[in-house]
C-alpha cells in the first residue's frame, strides 16, 4: 500500500502509548543509559549517551549487555 500524503506516518497511524513504556533512561554511575525491559526482569542496554569517547570503549555500557537494576520505588527512580 502506498499513501501519497504530506502527512508523516505517525500522524496517520498513531503509536500506542504503551510502546514507550518498555524503554527508560537510567543513570548508571552517573552516565545516561537507555534500557529495554526483558521478560526475565533484567534490562538490556539499548543506547548510551556520553560525550567522552572513552566511555564507548567501556564494556560495561556495551549495547546489548544485560543488567539488573535495583528498583526500590519503581517509577519514582525514572528520570525521563
Amino acid at each position: 500500500m502506498i499513501l501519497y500524503t504530506p502527512l508523516s506516518e505517525h500522524d496517520i497511524f498513531p503509536v500506542d502509548e504503551t510502546e514507550y513504556d518498555q524503554w527508560k533512561w537510567v543513570a548508571i554511575e552517573g552516565k545516561m543509559v537507555k534500557v529495554q525491559r526483558q521478560d526475565d526482569g533484567s534490562y538490556e542496554i539499548v543506547q548510551f549517551i556520553s560525550t567522552n569517547p572513552q566511555d564507548y570503549l567501556n564494556t560495561s555500557y556495551m549495547p546489548g549487555r544485560r543488567i539488573y537494576l535495583n528498583e526500590n520505588e519503581g517509577s519514582s527512580k525514572r528520570f525521563v
Binding site: T5, P6, L7, S8, E9, H10, D11, V15, E19, Y20, W23, V26, A27, I28, E29, G30, M32, I49, S50, T51, N52, P53, Q54, L57, T59, S60, M62, P63, G64, R65, R66, I67, Y68, L69, N70, E71, K77, F79
Partner: protein, 246 residues
C-alpha cells in the same frame, strides 16, 4: 537523578560459570570478546544522529537526538577542565527548528575549540548545527538539504502563520550566514531553488559544493578534523600563556 546499583550477574552462581557466561554474552552482543583501549581523551564527541526531537515525542522506532539530552552534555563539556575540544558528528535528517537552533546556539557559544564533521547527511536544521562550530568538515559523499521552513502537512491558511514561519526562517538564514562565509542571497537561492528536489523546493548540496558555496570550510573526515582541532587547542593554549606573561 538517582544512581542505580549495577548488578551485572545474579548472586549464587559460581565464579567460573559467571565469567564464561559473560564472555558468551559479549560475543552475542558485539561479535567479539574485547574492544580496543586507548589513552584518556581531551577531546569529547557530540553525536547528532537521526531526527532532532523537539516538543513532540516521536514514535519509538525513529532514531532521535533529544535536545534535552544534548544541552546538559554541552554544558558539561564547557565546565570540565579536562575537556579541551569538542567534535560534533552529524548524520541527521533535520527535525524541530527550535530544538535544532537551540543546539546550534549552545555549540557556537562554547569557549573551547569546536569542529564539526558532516557524515552522510546534515539536512535541514542540521545545517545551522554544522556551521555553529569554529571549523566545519564534510565527507565527500555527505549531503546537506537546504529547504524553506514549513509545517509538514499543514496548509498555511492565514497571513499570521506565514509571517511567523517567515521570521523563523529568517532566524535560520541569519544564523547560518553569521557562522559561515556563505552569502545570504546564495543561501536563499539554494533554499528556494526549483527542479532540484522531487516534489519540493530547495537544493541538495553534496560535499564539494557545500565547500564551494562557503557553507562548510573543508572536505574531510576524522583525521582532518582531529588535526584541525588539535591545532586550535594548541593555539588557544599559546594565547592564554601570552596573556599570563603580559
Amino acid at each position: 537523578m538517582t544512581d542505580y546499583q549495577q548488578n551485572e550477574t545474579q548472586p549464587n552462581k559460581d565464579h567460573q560459570q559467571q565469567q564464561q557466561s559473560s564472555i558468551v554474552q559479549k560475543i552475542q552482543e558485539l561479535g567479539q570478546t574485547n574492544v580496543a583501549q586507548s589513552p584518556d581523551s581531551n577531546i569529547h564527541v557530540l553525536p547528532v544522529i537521526g531526527q532532532i526531537e523537539g516538543h513532540i515525542q516521536l514514535p519509538p522506532k525513529n532514531k532521535t537526538t533529544k535536545y534535552e539530552h544534548l544541552i546538559p552534555q554541552i554544558i558539561a563539556v564547557e565546565q570540565n577542565p579536562k575537556v579541551e575540544g569538542l567534535i560534533v558528528l552529524l548524520n541527521t535528517v533535520g527535525g524541530d527548528v527550535e530544538a535544532g537552533l537551540a543546539i546550534a546556539e549552545m555549540i557556537s557559544s562554547l569557549s573551547k575549540p569546536t569542529v564539526s564533521i558532516v557524515l552522510g547527511g546534515g539536512h535541514s536544521i542540521g545545517v545551522p548545527i554544522a556551521v555553529a562550530t569554529d571549523y566545519s568538515f564534510i565527507a565527500e559523499t555527505a549531503t546537506m538539504t537546504i529547504h524553506p521552513i514549513r509545517l509538514t502537512g499543514l496548509v498555511i491558511g492565514v497571513p499570521q502563520t506565514f509571517e511567523y514561519l517567515d521570521k523563523m526562517q529568517e532566524r535560520v538564514i541569519s544564523f547560518v550566514t553569521r557562522h559561515s562565509i556563505i552569502k545570504p542571497e546564495k543561501f536563499k537561492e539554494l533554499m528556494f531553488a526549483t527542479g532540484n528536489l522531487t516534489r519540493d523546493i530547495g537544493t541538495n548540496v553534496v560535499g564539494e559544493d557545500a565547500v564551494k558555496y562557503g557553507l562548510i570550510n573543508e572536505i574531510g573526515g576524522v583525521y582532518q578534523a582531529m588535526k584541525k582541532l588539535n591545532e586550535m587547542i594548541e593555539k588557544q593554549k599559546d594565547e592564554r600563556e601570552k596573556q599570563v606573561i603580559q
